[in-house]
């Protein structure tokens, strides 16, 4: 079998709040199934073409570091990323990476920063920062699952036409604190505000992304093999109990 290639975009610039854990989760749950994985670091100065990667990951960064990569993303890799998204390459994007795929980011002071425009959402910066442990709900294979996450953002994102929310907010603020939506889905591209890291504690999402990528690689008949989620479930349950009930309930 060919290697599954994970493209980690700007890992030396966009690496806040444990986003590295998402790449590790994809890597672990694939290699434990005997699938060979290669993680490609794709940063400033690295070339990437459509067809090079099976799963793309773009995290969030500090403002100064996002400013460093923004030019490269828009002017150098932007068209390739857009093509990949349109062609159905699987992407997970978090916070800054998610915002940057959208139309624009309007700063709190009114200054408008044009984004990649790969997805129809847009974002407005506000003064108040949402910093919270979160609980979301996602429907996967007809089953509603609770997702444990962590948010840390001052941007409010509003979904555009043709975009569906990735998840629903149970606790926390999600996209904007108003409409109960969290993140976005467009084709095989997923955006979310959940750091935390999102994937390790939520293996159903990890497996969904892996399966999407492998089906794309080997055809619709590809079925991801069973793999225990015992440790992940235990960790998620402990954290959900902690978030829902505070320290007392978790004890």
């Amino acid at each position: 079998m060919e290697k599954l290639i994970i493209g980690h975009f700007y890992p030396d610039l966009l690496n806040l709040y444990g986003d590295r854990g998402n790449v590790l989760a994809l890597l672990r749950r694939a290699t434990l199934r005997g699938i060979e994985v290669e993680v490609k670091r794709i940063s400033i100065g690295d070339d990437v073409s459509n067809g090079d990667i099976d799963i793309g990951f773009i995290g969030g960064g500090q403002d100064s570091e996002q400013n460093i990569m923004a030019d490269d993303m828009k002017n150098v890799k932007g068209e390739v990323i857009k093509q990949m998204i349109e062609d159905g390459v699987v992407f997970l994007t978090v916070c800054g990476g998610y915002q940057m795929l959208g139309q624009y980011y309007e700063e709190h002071g009114g200054n408008r920063i044009e984004c990649l425009g790969a997805l129809p959402h847009y974002t407005k910066g506000e003064k108040e920062r949402f910093i919270n442990d979160c609980i979301y709900e996602i429907e996967l294979n007809g089953q509603k699952i609770k997702v444990a996450g962590f948010e840390n953002h001052s941007g409010r994102t509003f979904l555009g036409e043709g975009e569906k929310p990735f998840m629903r907010v149970i606790r926390g603020h999600g996209n904007n604190g108003q409409d109960g939506t969290e993140g976005a889905v467009y084709k095989n591209t997923y955006g979310t505000y959940s750091h935390g890291s999102l994937l390790p504690k939520n293996p159903a999402i990890t497996d969904m992304l892996l399966e999407l990528a492998l089906k794309r690689k080997y055809g619709e008949d590809y079925v991801l093999s069973e793999l225990s989620t015992e440790v992940e479930d235990l960790a998620r349950k402990q954290v959900l109990d902690y978030i829902e009930g505070g320290i007392r309930a978790a004890q």
Partner: protein, 480 residues
């Protein structure tokens, strides 16, 4: 004059009341005094000899080392307790900690661990003789904001003083503060030769690189080129665009990279590249990060003594300082092994990614490590966010970690999964209520003479200490 006297009286009364109530009095007296007399710090600091220690990691250990060395060299030293490093804690230190009777004011030094943001606000009031900046790593970003912002805060503070500044040359963020302040800056760091040897002998074998800080020159937005690395973003770097590079170091630490800095008494050499004087020394507090802390402390003390004596190098001051380092001991309850019968436990406080990275590396290299216990809380003082555990490269160290790993704390689930995704399974887990049960079990299975290393974050450490005394019947082994 003015409000200083009543503010001081109020601080002392507050301290007395808190003590009677059995509460710690490390910051509240200062808080009360600052309320009554907002310029109390500048009033107290006037005419005093002050060394400040700031930076995200190693402040407490380095402050402790400087204090110990100056005492050995015959100075009366007043210092703040670990953690009490905001304006309130520093005011408390001035008001409540007195030099001993008959101490010569000329031989009395205040060594103050100072929080990065607090430093910006009070450096002008303190007017220190020497400001030491250890390093800048990501540390509770939701509280402090961006690293370049932290760097600018410290630089603003420095500009309100005429202090000599002692900077870590290997940290691009710290060293950049010397760019426009070169006449008063002195740099320290690890020798390039040692770094290269270390990189050759111990290549990084991770499957996924750790999340890095400061990979790019903030001015040119161009990636630094590294000739060698020590850890994290510390190393020998150069910006291909503006040419900013690791400044040449006056104080340079070198060692045999085939040795193990986790060994007590690890031998190394400190060289004053100005005078060419080299001192052979032994590491008093083990761990590769403590090589930096020792280097920082020796540099700061040497610069302080030179300014006292009006000399600018070339004397044997560094020789005296290096000899004084021989008397440094591990701070009470930190990096200190506590005997439990014929076995040991050792607590290493970890607060941020690089701290955890260095502690894991230390434990992985420790020859006496039998078990590892990771304890993670998420109270306000820890930062509510525990996601940083994923930024740490467990993967490169995991095969060298002890055979038994336990996890505890409010967020033991997160830590258990972190260990699991590194490729290891945990041998026991539970909240802090269960921690001493886990420890008792670990101690039972621990061979004589071996050690259980416990890595808690801040409130987890406070909680755990109490339990060790109550439930494991240990003596109070720490001193704040």
């Amino acid at each position: 004059m003015g409000l200083k006297a009543p503010a001081k009286a109020a601080a002392l009364i507050t301290k007395g009341i808190l003590r009677v109530m059995g509460r710690g009095a490390t910051t509240m007296p200062g808080k009360v005094a600052i309320k009554l007399c907002p310029d109390i710090i500048s009033k107290c600091a006037r005419g005093k000899k002050i060394i400040t220690v700031t930076g995200t990691n190693g402040k407490t250990t380095t402050t402790h080392m400087i204090t110990s060395m100056l005492r050995t060299l015959g100075y009366e030293v007043i210092t703040n307790v670990s953690g009490a490093n905001l304006a309130s804690g520093i005011a408390t230190t001035f008001l409540c900690d007195k030099p001993s009777k008959g101490a010569d004011p000329d031989k009395t030094v205040y060594v103050l661990e100072t929080d990065e943001a607090a430093f910006a606000r009070i450096a002008g009031d303190l007017q220190p003789k020497v400001c030491l900046v250890t390093n800048l790593f990501r540390d509770q970003l939701d509280r402090y904001g961006e690293l370049t912002h932290t760097r600018d805060l410290i630089a603003n503070g420095i500009d309100k003083t005429s202090a000599k500044i002692v900077l870590n040359a290997d940290d691009s963020l710290v060293a950049s503060m010397g760019k426009t302040r070169s006449e008063r800056a002195t740099y320290f760091g690890i020798s390039l030769k040692t770094m290269i040897e270390n990189n050759t002998l111990h290549p990084n074998k991770t499957i996924l690189e750790a999340s890095s800080d400061a990979a790019f020159c903030p001015d040119c937005k161009v990636r630094y080129k590294y000739n060698a690395r020590s850890f994290g973003h510390l190393g020998d770097y150069e910006c291909p665009s503006c040419g900013f590079a690791t400044p040449s170091k006056r104080f340079e630490l070198s060692y045999d990279a085939s040795g193990n800095p986790s060994d007590e008494g690890f031998p190394f050499t400190m060289t004053d590249t100005v005078s060419g004087k080299a001192c052979d020394m032994n590491l008093k507090i083990a761990g590769s990060h403590n090589l930096y802390n020792t280097c920082a402390a020796v540099s700061a003390v040497t610069r302080f003594l030179e300014s006292e004596q009006g000399s600018e190098g070339g004397t044997d001051i560094i020789g005296q300082v290096c000899r004084a380092q021989d008397n440094v001991e591990a701070a009470f309850g930190r990096m200190e092994k506590i005997a439990v019968g014929s076995k040991y436990i050792c607590i290493l406080l970890v607060k941020n990614p690089v701290g955890l990275d260095r502690s894991l590396s230390f434990v992985a290299q420790s020859s006496d490590a039998d078990s590892l216990m990771l304890v993670l809380n998420s109270n306000t003082a820890d930062g509510k966010d525990v996601s940083w555990i994923w930024d740490v490269d467990f993967e490169s160290k995991v095969n060298d970690l002890p055979s038994n790993i336990y996890v505890s704390g409010q967020r033991y689930g997160d830590m258990m999964l972190r260990v699991s995704y590194s490729g290891r399974t945990v041998d026991g887990y539970g909240t802090l209520e269960y921690a001493t049960t886990l420890l008792k079990g670990a101690l039972k299975d621990c061979p004589d003479g071996k050690c259980i290393y416990i890595l808690p974050n801040y409130t987890a450490m406070l909680d755990l200490r109490g339990r060790l005394v109550k439930e494991l019947k240990l003596k109070e082994f720490w001193k704040d």
